[in-house]
């Protein structure tokens, strides 16, 4: 679609309001439905997962539609989108859709079409050897990683999104191609604790984290910032108004109170806190949003900090792998990671995943009390025995 030159003319910077179209909203989804979806809308009877990445939906009219789900990197070029369009034109009458986890779904209405499409998709690779359209992401496996901007575009990240997602996805690729886990496992990633996306409610979540307080740019803060906003942005009240020696308005930060969230930098660009050695990655686990069997859950911090080892993040990959493998081994069918951890107890979760429990993981923010153990119900673990021995509490 080219820019309109005839009906409304070109944009005229001299008269910006002239011929301006606004408040049109998105196009209606009905326009882009394949005919088989339009005809059977609201009439679906059941569906099957034929194999990883391939779904079949059957309508009460007898119509069938096959869906092929492919992984996607989310950040993509127009060239790549054109390639998706080319495939859709060839096999799917020009229709294609994207999922809420940024996978691509091609819909076909015959088995023959499905086989040809599958073969074509699997043959397409980038020059470096990566699959362009790996088929998978259905059922009890690991689908795409929901992630954010990272160093590609954002100004507040503590780590990079795309590169870490690529590194972790490479390691979890067999779970994307297979459905071998007890239940689906959602991995998500956010590069600062704004948590854009699904980090707070995912089975495994990777989160960029700072470890140093902001540096105050006294010279510019009173010009660039609305200082009361920066003060009110702090969740722990560590920022207070101050004056410089020359009498300029500024702020002071109690560094022993600061927990490096970066909210003040979001509100005020004179308070940068990004740091090469300080910044890193936190891993959270056990969240979910579905209501199946148990209520939705928040994910909990299980690894306080890992370094940003660009470009492949070996420490992050190793810890994610440890958690996934312990979960695959220990959990019952249909049990999400959080359900499993709560059933066996978090002390056993740490033992089985081989993760170290440190003081960083103990909640100390306002409503923290409810997260502590107000019970004698617990399982002895090797780690607990060690602590007990050091304290002289256990005689062998």
């Amino acid at each position: 679609m080219a820019l309109s030159k005839e009906r409304l003319g070109r944009y005229n910077p001299e008269k910006p309001q002239e011929n301006r179209l606004t408040d049109l909203g998105p196009r209606h989804f009905w326009e882009f439905f394949p005919p088989v979806i339009q005809e059977n809308y609201g009439k679906w009877l059941y569906h099957d997962i034929l194999e990883p990445g391939i779904l079949a939906h059957v309508s009460e009219t007898g119509a069938k539609v096959y869906t092929v789900r492919c992984g996607a990197a989310r950040f993509m070029t127009v060239q790549h989108v054109r390639e998706i369009c080319e495939i859709a034109d060839k096999y799917c009458k020009g229709y294609v859709r994207f999922t809420t986890r940024n996978n691509i779904e091609f819909l076909v209405d015959s088995i023959e079409g499905l086989e040809a499409l599958k073969k074509d998709l699997e043959s397409r690779k980038f020059a470096g050897g990566s699959f362009k359209f790996p088929i998978g992401g259905t059922g009890a496996g690991i689908s795409n990683i929901v992630h954010t901007q990272g160093y590609i575009h954002c100004h507040t990240p503590a780590t990079d999104a795309s590169s870490m997602v690529k590194a972790v996805s490479d390691e979890l690729f067999e779970y994307f191609k297979g459905m071998t886990l007890p239940a689906k496992l959602r991995v998500s990633m956010a590069c600062c604790l704004n948590m854009c996306g699904a980090v707070h409610c995912s089975d495994i979540a990777l989160l960029g984290y700072h470890r140093k307080p902001p540096i105050v740019d006294h010279e510019y803060i009173s010009k660039l910032c609305e200082i009361p906003l920066a003060i009110a942005a702090c969740p722990v009240g560590a920022i207070s108004p101050d004056k410089t020696e020359s009498g300029k308005k500024t702020v002071k930060i109690k560094s022993e109170r600061c927990m490096f969230c970066g909210n003040c930098y979001t509100m005020c660009q004179a308070l940068p806190l990004s740091d090469q050695e300080g910044d890193g990655v936190t891993i959270l686990a056990g969240g979910k949003i579905s209501n199946r069997i148990s209520d939705p859950k928040f994910s909990k911090v299980v690894v306080p900090w890992l370094p940003n080892s660009f470009p492949r993040f070996p420490e992050v990959v190793e810890n994610v792998k440890k958690i996934v493998e312990a979960y695959a081994k220990g959990a019952n069918k249909y049990e999400r990671l959080g359900d499993w951890a709560e059933r066996i107890g978090w002390e056993r979760f740490f033992e089985q995943c081989g993760l170290e429990f440190t003081e960083h993981l103990i909640d100390d923010y306002r409503l923290a009390y409810d997260t502590w153990r107000t019970s004698t119900q617990f399982k002895f673990t090797d780690a607990a025995w060690e602590v007990s021995k050091v304290a002289g509490g256990i005689e062998e």
Partner: protein
């Protein structure tokens, strides 16, 4: 950061065209910014909004919330957009020489 000459005075601007130092503001600055924001001429209502923003900023060191702005000046949000086509934040705050709005905008 770039600086421009507005009515014989050098004024420092950032890459979005906001003034770096709100204290440098004069009425000439508002007139200078107006053309870039699609405003041909500043009428009384424009000035009412601009002066309200500056007074509020002087008193509280923050820009007022939209609701507050509408209530105090008597302009509906729709009318604010008619006055300042790029909106209260990018338009009127820039003309009033206030710092660039921050956060997830």
């Amino acid at each position: 950061m770039a600086s421009v000459n507005i009515a014989g005075r050098e004024v420092e601007l950032d890459e979005d065209g906001f003034m770096v130092n709100p204290d440098d503001w004069t009425e000439d600055c508002a007139k200078y910014f107006a053309s870039g924001e699609g405003i041909n001429e500043l009428n009384d209502d424009h000035w009412k909004v601009i002066h309200y923003l500056r007074d509020y900023y002087k008193q509280f060191q923050i820009a007022p919330m939209i609701r507050k702005l509408c209530k105090e000046t008597g302009c509906s949000l729709k009318y604010i957009y008619e006055l300042f086509p790029s909106g209260p934040a990018k338009g009127s705050c820039k003309l009033a020489g206030l710092p660039k709005p921050t956060g997830c905008v």
